[in-house]
Amino acid sequence: MAHKEITVTVNGVTSTRTVEPRTLLSDFLRHDLRLTGTHVGCEHGVCGSCTVLLDGAAVRACLVLAAQVDGHTVETVESLADEGRLCGAQRAVMEEHGLQCGFCTPGILMSMAAAERDEQTADEVVSTVLQGHVCRCTGYLGLRAAIERHFREREAAR
């Protein structure tokens, strides 16, 4: 199979790699770049665990080919903490017990990050962010509380 060379900026670091055309972005991030915080839950775009930001917008990394991100910018969960300090969304999820096994959590955090950039309101986000995610452990109550809290705090800080 013909390989393809791609140059991509991931979490601020630009690198050039050779990939198979069929390589998924999720596998590229996890196995080529060893950024294992992006989790693969279903590989068919339903569960949302692999959500990352592509040029600032939330995408399912399992539905994007690595070859498609050539020349683009990708952000993963590993980019969220600021100089080692948890970001507001991460703190809110922890404080509201919005995670148990933690497998789906990185994807949800990335959807929260996308909603922040979209300037979504606290009233909007609770339904929009979790629309695209499956969590098998928490029953969502802690996640809803965390999302609402985080976006209310952002609104209050403006």
Binding site: L99, T105, C135
Partner: protein, 774 residues
């Protein structure tokens, strides 16, 4: 003593790591150099494998291909754990010369990466002589049904009876003034942890050692199974459970697939990896539930429960998994719930079908028994014209009647079942919304008793369950004074490491951040057989740590007293400093002296370790009452759960926030059973129809209302912490509660609410039959 830690909702110790994306699940382990497995799976539900030709796959570059003959030559069977009388299959064979379900592994391919392995699987040529298949319990028990095992002449795998003789129950039912009789189904469920199964196996030929990193609930059971399957000694196998991304009973045994990956590692003499994909998880992993029950409840004219009989037919699938018929047996054992019956009995028949085997799923028989009992009682109240809460209370075991032994010989220890039910009814009553137009609304409350802290070992022996009930834990004060806790239970996302650390810190009187918890490695963890399943981790490992922490506290104080030359009563731990009236020393110095072996009060005890084995005297029973308010759309058949309440008694709670998370998460899974989730097969071919998350509907955020959880605390007398389990309780009652609320909303279809999930289609059909649909 500083502030109480047992009972404090402290943040979980591992959350920050998980939130950063620094979780360490099995697929995150650096597997450089590892080869990858893809399985050759059966495309048919039943047949003899007559050809398995790997020539083309090997020519295309596969590193290894194993077929049924290789597997038969190289492996032994896996032991089963819970059998049923009459069961002819006492072991799980790894080689499949005869396939019995679609998706059964026939062989495997090893290649440099997963994609190449999957490519090579396409090149393996197989031929299968098809045999007639049988899908579903009724089909399997029909006259002339195709036989999954022709050599035994029946699809019945075995049968067991619990409680009163069936003739006595029959007579009581015949003589009773009122009888409710129904057939209740519980669908098959796929556990669907967000992290599927997976493992990395490493065989080091020079030393003959196998290390298995695996997403599991039971590292020691995996070790036993891998050793048996690969004909190794237990001491050659080390099993490590890294972070586990959810389990729910689905990772409570070792599967054939997993064992074969270890075999591949042994044959190639290196590292081999397999991460289950979601299609495999939904179709070829052991499933949960799958039963049909013929149930009869007899009442007198006052609504007193005279007799209860359930005949449970459980779908084992193609062979008994290691857990086998266990869940169906528990359904039979627990069907009485929190009520008095003059007579009660359960008959359990395990049935073979040509589908993937079943086993443990959160709630383990107790959701199924609650479904039967609470639906029957609800229909009885309706037929007798009694208030369903009043009918329950009339027959409910009161606190002064405890301990109470059921007809199936379970002895309930403590709790106030009526108070919890009354409170749930009060909560539900306050929030009732009216029906509007084509939206009908209804409420219901239910009650259940939960087997938790599954033990003691002697009881399991009595029931011929090949499991150990005891748990062990070790507390070590390290040479710098930090504390390491080793326990046999493991973390599957439930937060048990935090709860165990809280127990130890409180018992020792040290800050929580001095304590770390090490779980899930057979090289360092105490032996544990059942580990983290059956709602037992805090109850049993926590029980062991109550003792171990207290003993270690006493030893540190004794060492400090000896060092200070004062009586132990004169030593107080104040922060990190031991003080007596005149002198002081640090906790760290005492730990250092301890490991140096200096000044020890007892010459024979040096290591600062305390190991406690805890085998409780009896099962401790948690209980709960649930309430639901639902809206039923008569035009679409859609059931919406608008409110949900849980009044739960799990004894002393170590971390109430974690407890709430377990209960709410369990309720969400229960709502999935009630309304959404079902594994479906094509009856004509046995092919699975629910192969993606687009077909298999897991509950989403919009499907789970803002559940209200209230706690009652009746401390257990069966362990030193007063703990009762709570991992499964949330899952037990939602299907019955939601169905009863639907019955309350639409009494015209009450008697037909016998099958879950109550999907819009199913409800609409019932509404249509009743002339109510649009």
């Amino acid at each position: 003593m500083s502030e109480r830690l047992i009972g404090a909702s402290v943040p979980r110790l591992h959350d920050e790591r998980l939130l950063r994306g620094d979780g360490h699940y099995v697929d995150d382990i650096d597997a450089i150099g590892a080869l990858h497995v893809a399985f050759v799976r059966s495309p048919v539900a039943h047949g003899h494998v007559t050809r398995f030709d790997a020539t083309a796959a090997l020519r295309a570059g596969a590193a290894l291909v194993l077929g049924p003959d290789d597997i038969a030559r190289l492996t032994g069977p896996l032991p089963t754990i819970w059998r049923i009388p009459g069961q002819h299959l006492g072991e799980v064979e790894l080689a499949a010369h005869t396939v019995r379900y679609v998706g059964q592994p026939i062989g495997l391919v090893v290649a440099r990466d997963r994609a190449s392995a999957e490519d090579a699987v396409e090149l393996v040529e197989i031929e299968i002589d098809p045999l007639p298949q049988v899908i579903g319990i009724d089909a399997a028990l029909a006259d002339g049904a195709p036989l999954v095992y022709p050599e035994i002449g029946t699809n019945v795998a075995g049968e067991i009876h619990f409680g009163a003789p069936v003739e006595d129950v029959d007579k009581a039912v015949t003589d009773a003034p009122h009888v409710v009789e129904r057939v209740f189904d519980v669908q098959r469920i796929c556990h669907s942890p967000m992290e599927p199964h997976g493992l990395l196996a490493e065989w080091v030929p020079s030393v003959g050692s196998m290390t298995v990193w695996i997403s599991t609930q039971v590292p020691h059971v995996v070790r036993t199974g891998v050793a048996a399957g690969l004909r190794l000694r237990a001491d050659q196998v080390r099993v490590v459970a890294p972070d586990v991304g959810g389990a729910f009973g689905g990772k409570a045994v070792l599967s054939v697939d997993e064992t074969l990956v270890c075999l591949a590692a042994k044959v190639v003499g290196g590292r081999v990896k397999w991460i289950e994909d979601r299609r495999e998880n939904l179709t070829a992993s052991y499933q949960g539930r799958g039963q049909r029950a013929h149930a009869r409840l007899a009442l007198d004219a006052d609504g007193r429960f005279l007799a209860l009989h359930t005949w449970i037919k459980g779908d084992l699938g193609a062979y008994p998994s290691q857990a086998g018929s266990g869940p169906f047996q528990v359904a039979g054992l627990t069907v009485e719930g929190p009520y008095r019956f003059e007579l009660a009995a359960a008959t359990v028949t395990a049935v073979y079908t040509n589908t993937v085997p079943t086993g443990a799923y959160r709630g383990y028989g107790m959701q199924e028994s609650s479904w039967i009992r609470e639906r029957l009682i609800d229909d009885a109240a309706r037929e007798l014209g009694l208030d369903p809460v009043e009918l329950r209370l009339r027959n409910m075991i009161s606190p002064r009647e405890l301990p109470h032994t059921t007809h199936t010989f379970l002895t309930y220890d403590s709790g106030d079942y009526p108070e919890a039910l009354r409170r749930a009814a009060e909560l539900a009553g306050q929030r009732r919304k009216p029906s509007t137009g084509r939206i009908r609304r209804g409420v219901a409350v239910t009650s259940a008793v939960e087997v938790t802290g599954f033990a003691p070992s002697a009881l399991l022996e009595m029931f011929a369950i090949d499991m150990a009930g005891w748990e062990s834990a070790r507390v070590r004060v390290n040479e710098d004074g930090t504390v390491t806790v080793f326990a046999g239970v493991i973390s599957i996302g439930q937060g048990v490491e935090t709860a165990l650390a809280q127990i130890v810190a409180e018992q020792m009187g040290v800050p929580l951040d001095w304590v770390s918890v090490q779980l899930g490695d057979t090289a360092t963890s105490p032996y544990s057989n059942l580990t983290s399943q059956a709602s037992r981790s805090v109850t049993l490992a926590g029980g062991a740590l109550m003792h171990a922490g207290e003993r270690m506290r006493a030893r540190m104080h004794a060492l400090a007293a000896a060092h200070l030359g004062v009586a132990v009563e004169d030593v107080k731990l104040d922060g990190a400093v031991f003080r007596s009236s005149e002198r002081e020393t640090t906790w760290r110095e005492v730990a250092h002296r301890g490991w140096m072996g200096w000044g020890r009060p007892d010459p024979d005890r040096i290591q600062l370790e305390e190991v406690v084995d805890f085998d409780p005297p009896a099962i401790t029973f948690a209980h709960a009452a649930h309430g639901a308010a639902v809206a039923v759309d008569l035009d679409t058949g859609t059931v919406t759960v608008e409110d949900y309440w849980s009044v739960n008694d799990s004894g002393v709670l170590v971390n109430p926030r974690i407890a709430d998370g377990q209960i709410v998460g369990g309720i969400a899974q229960g709502l999935g059973i009630a309304l959404h989730e079902q594994v479906l097969f094509d009856d004509a071919t046995g092919a699975p129809l629910t192969t993606t998350f687009a077909d298999y509907h897991l509950p989403r955020s919009k499907d789970v209302p803002d559940v209200v959880v209230e706690h009652r605390v009746t401390p257990s007398a069966h362990n030193p912490g007063g703990f009762k389990g709570l991992g499964e309780g949330g899952t037990m009652l939602p299907p019955a509660t939601v169905a009863n609320a639907v019955a309350n909303a639409v009494p015209e279809i009450a008697g037909s609410l016998t099958v879950t999930p109550l999907t819009p289609q199913r409800v609409w059909e019932l509404l249509s039959d009743a002339g109510l649909a649009g």
